[in-house]
Point group: C2
Amino acid sequence: MEQHPDILTYLNKHFPTLDKDLKEYLSVIGGLKKIPAGEVLLKQGQYIRFTVLVLEGRIKLYREGEEQGEFFMYYLEPGDACAISMICIASGKESEVMAKAVEESVVLMIPVQHMELLMKDYKSWYRFVIESYRRRFEEVLTVLDSTVFKSMDERLLSYIREQSRQLNTRQLKLTHQEIATDINSSREVISRLLKKMEQKGLVKLNRNYIEVLPAD
Amino acid sequence: MEQHPDILTYLNKHFPTLDKDLKEYLSVIGGLKKIPAGEVLLKQGQYIRFTVLVLEGRIKLYREGEEQGEFFMYYLEPGDACAISMICIASGKESEVMAKAVEESVVLMIPVQHMELLMKDYKSWYRFVIESYRRRFEEVLTVLDSTVFKSMDERLLSYIREQSRQLNTRQLKLTHQEIATDINSSREVISRLLKKMEQKGLVKLNRNYIEVLPAD
DNA sequence: ATGCTTATGTAACAAATGTCACAGAAATAC
DNA sequence: GTATTTCTGTGACATTTGTTACATAAGCAT
């Protein structure tokens, strides 16, 4: 079998916790896939045939309501794996979330049938899977905290700051409508609350982007 | 090393997916512990030194708000494991939830240091861990759906029906205050909504218990 | 420029949820 | 028994969030 040099380069760059052997093995069994910006790579309810490691770009994970909208959970970045895909595969269950590329992204797709062996033969893989899942669980609990314990203005502020942190920029290129969709509110409410936040000196509003001002 | 016959009996009764070898091994390394009703066996933020398998009774898992109350996530029953404890151990992280026995319960406690070997040597253990975690993730997502997409009356109905299903009874011994705490609302709101539900023929209200009427 | 589309601002109102105040009923304590 | 506590019911009101209906402004296309 032949190693794919690009894959190995990617893995070395973003997955320091995986063993050398494992990375080589993954570069043999995995396939590179380029995902254009905006493409949905996993639908809620869909069966999963690959475990996905993110090598480039950024993937947005949503929970879809039964009838209604979509609710933002977290981003996957280079170095992350889709925890859901790993676990659902292992249990033969369908996806519980929707995943959409927000930038052009490159992912490594590892076919289902290798999971068992990976788990068994590579300790660093098993640890990676466990840790990925734990982190996602933690993130979902944080999101749950927001919706349960916080009011809309606090949720909005958390959202804004979290976006700024994750995207590593103070200039958030988001419309009020997009924010409203992500946290399941309405555009008018977001505009109103953002205006108040601006008056408090937390943000500066502009057309098509929001400048996040440093917290005191 | 000596097997503990009671443990083995419990494991055989409630954990059909675990291999015979594994059960025998668990009965050697695990310790039985009886938990009185009402006792908290795990606090949020606490480090975890044992993986817990539930053998008897019922454990309630909560998420605690930063300042405020506690929010019900799910129950653990005989045959369940505390997924959080398994994963946090594996990652050396503290607990993300609070666990409280609602009935007198019996649990099997497996010290941290055996996890690595269990994962490596017992395929049925690894599968059990993964599946436990997946199911809890799924439950938390369902709870998240409720808080994000549903109004309070719908959440209350879901809660009531879920309790009835899990506790396997139509007579829910819950006060309005307890319900309010579990879903982070206020007692008056719950009383009001329950009254409406009674008028719709969904429940029958009594002091200290609620009778859940079958859905159409 | 002119018109078209998209994004934002905002008032007025509606609906949902939370809070306060208090009453009465049922259980429990004494 | 009476007193006390706990639980439930409910009206009145406050607050938060969502909705409707526009207005205005910025960018884009021609």
